[in-house]
Amino acid sequence: MSRENVLVTPDWAEQNLDTDGVVFVEVDEDTTAYDAGHIPGAVKINWKTELQDPVIRDFVDKGAFEKLLSDKGISNDDTVVLYGGNNNWFAAYAYWYFKLYGHDNVKLLDGGRKKWELDGRPLNTDEVKRPATSYTAKHDQDTSIRAFRQEVVDAIGNKNLVDVRSPDEFAGKILAPAHLPQEVAQRPGHIPTAINVPWSKAANDDGTFKSDDELRALYEGAGLDNGKPTIAYCRIGERSSHTWFVLHELLGQPDVKNYDGSWTEYGSLVGAPIELGSKG
């Protein structure tokens, strides 16, 4: 795996806005940013209302994913370039999601919306309508990149567990990123034996990813054992998608899973072991 296969630069993106077979997709939790100005030609996906099942806490199934991409005008052969706010958290989540259903030709825009804006690149409010397609997912969910709760409990002491939340969330001092209210039901803390490598350490201030050498040094320095499988988690699963992208797609580690549900699920499991405090 190399960087060019999974990541595009803003320069490349700007040069390919009108290229046939390249579809730009902005992914956010709410689409007000998109509505106020998006990359010309980009369609939007609302992570919450379009990628999540409306009733059960899970993803939409294969059929609903196919319908969504068909409605958005995305075909199986298209190169999908994902970008979004929050330092590409939700775009990385969507990237992982596209991979779950076997869409291989998907890339992230390095730096996402932030770098694009800071560079002063074009945004517009034109309505984007692409002709519908009939998209077919390659396979059902690929669970080789998705961890479930029992697997996470079993990983304690056996696999690398990477907690990508902020140090205060890891230590149990706060329960959510600090732009959100803190009143939630989960117990605070982290999964025993997890290392804490905040997702933000993998990114520069402008939202672009650090170099492969810097990234390798970061995880090795934090004690990640390259000989073992890895599970990344955060509070919900989108920041850990960012880290999943770094470990699996940029650094090419073979066995890396993202734990969707993350602390919102784990911190509510009755009897599951929890550790408090920061690592020495």
Partner: protein
């Protein structure tokens, strides 16, 4: 959810300031409120904690914990930062000037 909620000075209903530590404020450039700035909250060790985009009227808001925090704003027109010390739960206001 982790998406950034709308940034206003009005706190969400039910916010209990005897328990929550809320940092709020305005980004300014040349004396005027600056919208669309990326506002980052760093903890006492300089570690990233959260990031929001300032509203059209330059406002931002964080739910933190007692401690010393740095608020740093990044915008096409420049950068700026300010420090705020929260001794206890409550509402703290800070202005960040970008130049």
């Amino acid at each position: 959810m982790c998406g950034a909620p709308e940034q206003t000075q009005v706190l969400p209903p039910g916010t209990d300031l005897s328990k929550q530590t809320v940092l709020t404020g305005t980004v300014r450039a040349e004396g005027e409120p600056l919208g669309g700035a990326y506002v980052r909250l760093l903890d006492g060790t300089g570690e990233f904690t959260a990031e929001v985009v300032s509203s059209a009227s330059g406002q931002f808001r964080f739910f933190a914990a007692p401690g010393t925090w740095t608020v740093r704003a990044l915008h096409r027109s420049g950068v700026g930062e300010a420090t705020v010390t929260a001794d206890a739960p409550g509402l703290y206001t800070v202005t960040v000037t970008v130049s």
